[in-house]
Symmetry: C2
Subunit: 430 residues, 2 copies
């Protein structure tokens, strides 16, 4: 039996009663006044105002000596503990019930509940301290390996033992809807003797799911054990890890990707919590070879989250779907990624972002990047209205969607979208 | 003729009248009360108090609508422009002159000037947004290349065209004096079939100089031109980029160093400005091959800064010098590094940290890491009191020093020091 809510929520909404994601918004008339919120159906619940009105005072929140939703980001909330996050989610759910204070007190309702319209501006949900990108989908690692090293050496010897990852760039993580300029940089065409300075000719997306770290930071030097690692995960967003393949190919040996990635990374605005996703948890296949003890979990799981990527080609009337993948296609899961990250003693702070790496499934239509879909640009990807692509062209828009569905319950992420603008004129560079 | 100051500054002090570095301190009786300061000889000048007392009101500062030294970091100051930084340095210098307000008003002096004693606690000077580590010393790149790939392929094809760098971890950048636990992690001994979980057996230092970025951030998508790049450099610190060589060797293909580095990075507490270093500027040899136009400077320079590394072995009465290098041994300089970093459109914010990479000179005693000095552990490094090392042992302390000297004028960095504590017991990990 579905719980009766006074807010109308359509059955296909990502933002159901069971979701209660966290984000930050402002309104067009006062853009700078960013504040924490949740979203339910086609409404926003202003959590700064809800907290001021005393609506969030559960057992744990009553004991806090400070308010947590009065800043411009969710960091203060994320620094608390999982029981705090759970309490707020339950409290908000109870406010949606018929007969709650928010239902019956219309003056209160008018202060706290805001229709979701095009006047709503969504912001980055947190101040991101450090951003890390992993590389944990087997199919993606295999595909890229085959392209660059051939079938026999596709998977590097360390990949099956280590959740391989690298430090990314936090300053250019942006929220869905932010346009991205096509980057310029160095590339070395296969036939050229020397590198050239060129706009990116192989601009790509990477379909990822990123976790926001929460909870009190581990002390420097002290690891997070794998079976408690999920307590350090506040929730998930969708991520497009834009990639300049030609720049990346020339620069990445031996220290990894740099300018090929740091021109922009887009995330969806609403952080979906682990509690909202719990009913979609699925077991993963046992890992072979067995992980080292510090990475060996009591239960090896991920979540069944459908992931889709659409390309809206410049000039077309509608978007085409390019990728249908799933968050269950992870070899190393978030607990293992987080524990591995901390094992040398690295501090993980609330607000840090840990991305999955490109999530490709085994079928071709499940590949999470155009590099894989066009097999390094050798095969055209057919679009509607007679268009085709190998990589992203100027004024194309990439839209990612993610949602879990089971027993008539839907929990989704909304969109992670971004448009590619032309490169800046060359006289901006020298 | 040396300027007459009322503060006694010994001739061998790093913190001369010509230096005026910026840092953050508190006192042992109120550790949390961190505030910006400069250091002159054996005194600290409290800039929060100096600003409150109206002592910093030069022409540009008088026009500001907000105070800049009232926070716990230097970020607000760093976000201003180079003329602002120059004005404050000149203002402080004038306060040191005989007959200045700070000389004659003893009550004021007692509020603003604090003897530098062991009751002074130094903090990270800024909240670091993103930390980037470059790889720009030719000798270091060559040495590491010879060890891993042999003489013929020592320098990678991209190295002479790109100031190669990678994103590092900001959360574990710590100030001089912070102890570092020896990390545990994965390594694969050459004879083993599988990796093992082990404490680091090849713990190393890397001698670096790091630049704090300052000035208004470039817009996302917009590069910083190379001939104006120095306006985005607030100043320099010394850096020890601690490295777990055995962990790094197993993990770094294909995405670069991760846990081999992110357990800790130590910087010296005082940021020395480019203005203090200007008289030590030196021309570098023309680059061959010629850099691409966006990296081609009107004048290719660095600074003549002596850099030293000492190892104080556990149980020894004094430290031994291991490395004598110099900041002039840079192939790619800070302007080129910063411009390359921004060329794809990456935002550089005030408070970001850009490290040089290990600075090795051509002579063996100038090598900036024990990996090079012991040639991958194959040669013992002799210390005093009968000790020897190939890598760092528990309870050893590494101390870096840096200073420039010319015409009797000295500008130095003080120390960048850290002790290695034993690894945590294995039951902390699983």
């Amino acid at each position: 039996m579905e719980t009766q809510t006074w807010i109308q929520i359509s059955a296909d909404s990502d933002f159901s009663y069971h979701n209660i994601p966290f984000g930050v918004f402002s309104t067009a008339c006062n853009k700078e006044d960013a504040r924490p919120a949740t979203r339910v159906g086609d409404f926003i619940i202003d959590l700064r105002e809800a907290e001021r009105q005393g609506l969030l005072n559960g057992e744990l929140f009553s004991k806090l000596s400070h308010k947590v939703f009065q800043g411009k980001t969710l960091n203060s909330f994320m620094e608390l503990t999982r029981p705090h996050w759970q309490e707020v989610r339950r409290t908000i759910q109870s406010l949606l019930h018929v007969g709650s204070a928010l239902d019956t007190n219309k003056e209160l309702q008018s202060k706290v509940v805001i229709p979701y319209t095009d006047k709503i501006i969504l912001h980055l949900p947190a101040q991101i301290g450090d951003y890390t990108d992993f590389y944990s989908s087997y199919t993606h690692a295999y595909n890229v390996g085959v392209m660059f090293r051939g079938k026999d050496n596709a998977i590097q010897p360390n990949w099956l033992h280590i959740p391989i990852g690298y430090h990314g760039r936090a300053s250019t993580v942006v929220v869905s809807g932010t346009d991205i300029h096509r980057p310029r940089g160095q590339a070395k065409p296969p036939t050229a003797e020397k590198p050239i300075f060129t706009e990116c000719k192989r601009l790509d997306y990477e379909l990822e799911v990123a976790a926001f770290v929460g909870g009190p930071a581990n002390k420097m030097g002290e690891p997070v054990k794998v079976d408690s690692a999920e307590d350090r995960v506040f929730g998930f967003v969708l991520m497009n890890d834009w990639s300049a393949r030609d720049h990346q190919a020339w620069e990445y040996v031996p220290l990894g990707p740099f300018n090929g990635k740091n021109f922009g990374t887009t995330i969806s605005p609403w952080i979906v919590t682990l509690d909202a996703l719990e009913m979609f948890r699925v077991d993963l296949e046992p890992q072979n070879p067995e992980p080292l003890p510090y990475l060996k979990e009591k239960r090896h799981t991920s979540w069944d989250i459908n992931l889709e990527v659409y390309l809206h080609a410049d000039g077309n009337t509608k978007a085409d779907i390019l990728t249908k993948s799933n968050y269950k296609y992870m070899y190393w899961n978030i607990a293992q990624q987080l524990t591995h990250h901390s094992v040398g003693g690295c501090i993980l702070n609330a607000g840090d972002l840990l991305a999955s790496g490109t999530i490709s499934g085994p079928q071709k239509h499940e590949f999470g990047s155009m590099l894989e879909l066009s097999w390094q640009g050798t095969e055209k990807i057919a679009l509607s209205e007679g268009k085709e692509r190998t990589f992203i062209q100027d004024n194309d828009q990439i839209i990612m969607k993610g949602f879990a569905e089971k027993n008539g319950i839907r929990v989704g992420f909304g969109e992670c979208a971004g448009k590619v603008l032309p490169a800046l004129p060359e006289n901006k560079y020298y």
